[in-house]
Symmetry: C2
Subunit: 363 residues, 2 copies
Amino acid sequence: MPKLHTPLCDLLGTRLPIIQAPMAGGPTTPALVAAASKAGALGSFGFAYTQPEAMQRDVEAVRALTDAPINLNFFVNTQPAAVAPEAQSGAINAIAGYYQALGLPVPAPVRAPYAPDLNAQLSMAEDIQPAVVTFHLSDLPAEKLNRLRARGIKAGGSATCVAEALHLEALGVDFIIAQGGEAGGHRGTFQRNPYDAMTGTFALTRLIVRAVKIPVVAAGGIMDGAGIAAVLALGAQGAQLGTAFLPCTESGASAIHKQSLLAAREDTTTVTEKFTGKPARGLVNRFIREMNASNAPQLEFPAQGSLSGPLRTASGKSGNPDFLAMWAGQAAPLSREMSTAQLVVTLEHETLEAIERLVALCR
Amino acid sequence: MPKLHTPLCDLLGTRLPIIQAPMAGGPTTPALVAAASKAGALGSFGFAYTQPEAMQRDVEAVRALTDAPINLNFFVNTQPAAVAPEAQSGAINAIAGYYQALGLPVPAPVRAPYAPDLNAQLSMAEDIQPAVVTFHLSDLPAEKLNRLRARGIKAGGSATCVAEALHLEALGVDFIIAQGGEAGGHRGTFQRNPYDAMTGTFALTRLIVRAVKIPVVAAGGIMDGAGIAAVLALGAQGAQLGTAFLPCTESGASAIHKQSLLAAREDTTTVTEKFTGKPARGLVNRFIREMNASNAPQLEFPAQGSLSGPLRTASGKSGNPDFLAMWAGQAAPLSREMSTAQLVVTLEHETLEAIERLVALCR
């Protein structure tokens, strides 16, 4: 009986070299994370916007279901200086019409803090002691990284170019996530202009595999076992899939987000800063189309996310795709509707089949 | 003894499922094409800018060396209306300073025709009767495609999105080249805004493989056997490599172009329209950086190419990387210096090794 195993599996403590990508803002419910981990992948919480108490609650919910390894993911970014309420009018005016279109009042100026305190989150992560912590948008200060690793937690960081991968390796991470240009959600770029670091998953994975000595996990555009087999052929030791898990039964993505993914027939994604203040890839909708074209003023990340938050939430709840951030990778048309456990098992079987097909070519 | 073979090999008449990409404007010398074909790949001429008599001469030079199958590639585009000399001053002024920097006179207005006549090229292709013809930048009218295929010539077209692939399949091509966002040189997009059709090779290959029934050849960011194994895992039946062949001994790329590829350590490519009038990916240099930033006026494709031609040629000849179009894919840092035959054999062995490594993962 063939089985799919790389040294990364031993590092993470998982059966399979598959990571269910952390996706902040709703999709990564405890039910999704638990089901992914239980099935043999690494279930991951996207905790970018989650306060420590809620982190604890979510992890307890998983641990009631499984003792399989899980991953907690955080956004690393310096909290920007508070934006004075009177300086926010341009950004508010730019999206006020969308609030009105949904029958919502014009939003009030947002107030700092715009995101949870990373130190408090990391301190809670030390208490939780998950198998893995990953971070996104920047590097983690060495001292914080070392504290996690001293607890036996394995740490991974996102790189969108060779220089970032080399930097993270030197910092001491256990593995690198090579985030290709295809990937949905926020670009993790921290050493270059993000628009100059949109190297495709194919090229980036191979470049980073050749540049570093630690394990590489490929991310971006991977939706099935053929994709997993392909990144393993490129020398990656694992694959991180986000969009593929969004339509799963246990995913907390809104119904309209799931429907839009399942209806996609073409890569209709693009990168926008207008939802949160940082570039992120999602399905093009009215908000993205109009805001990207308008060059309207926006607040810094993550304050812009606070400003657009009620709009996105209301849009999702009312089943209106126009004002929702429907993060998605470029291979969104390969989305499938199934349970999380079924997806993980399907990915495993498909990967083995894809490898068997390759072997048949060489006979 | 394992061997690498897909049904595409039978279609093209090659030993290996590897296409040396057509690269117009110098790189694809008869020596390069002959060496690639003789070694088992499909050697390809980039004939976009080549007059019929020169086509004939080049092919005769190959046929004196090998009777292995070759491919002739053409750019399909409507010849734009002639640009009146007096309407060209903006575009001339935008690049006059670069001509002066190389000690060249300010260029004169360019005169139509700006490119060889496609009908005359295709008529010569019918006479030459190569194994394969591929086309780029648009579809080929059905009548012309049918004439080629009636002669037993296999035809392939480039697609940068699912819709283009479905269109080409319906038109009757024998295979599709899925040109991912990583690819160097001109974007083949013809049904979308090229900047909205930059899907990465990884996602695009899988999307097109799932959408069409005919063989798919992946292109963009493939530089070694690991890359070839990866696209085969994605369901492609072959890989087309351009940048990998540029530094080869037999390649006609300028010495400075070769050196710049071999010196690359990071994806420092970008897409520019400023050399030819159509978006194409190359290594960032002074010309691209300044012209992309300036939003300077330009002529339509291919007239802009005529206007920048002497500048590019002189820059290449003088070993100055500043004003040369150094087309390159995003995986340029994986460039290697070797003979064409050595590269083809290396790719073959590496692909088999990559597949063996995958198999070892499943034991």
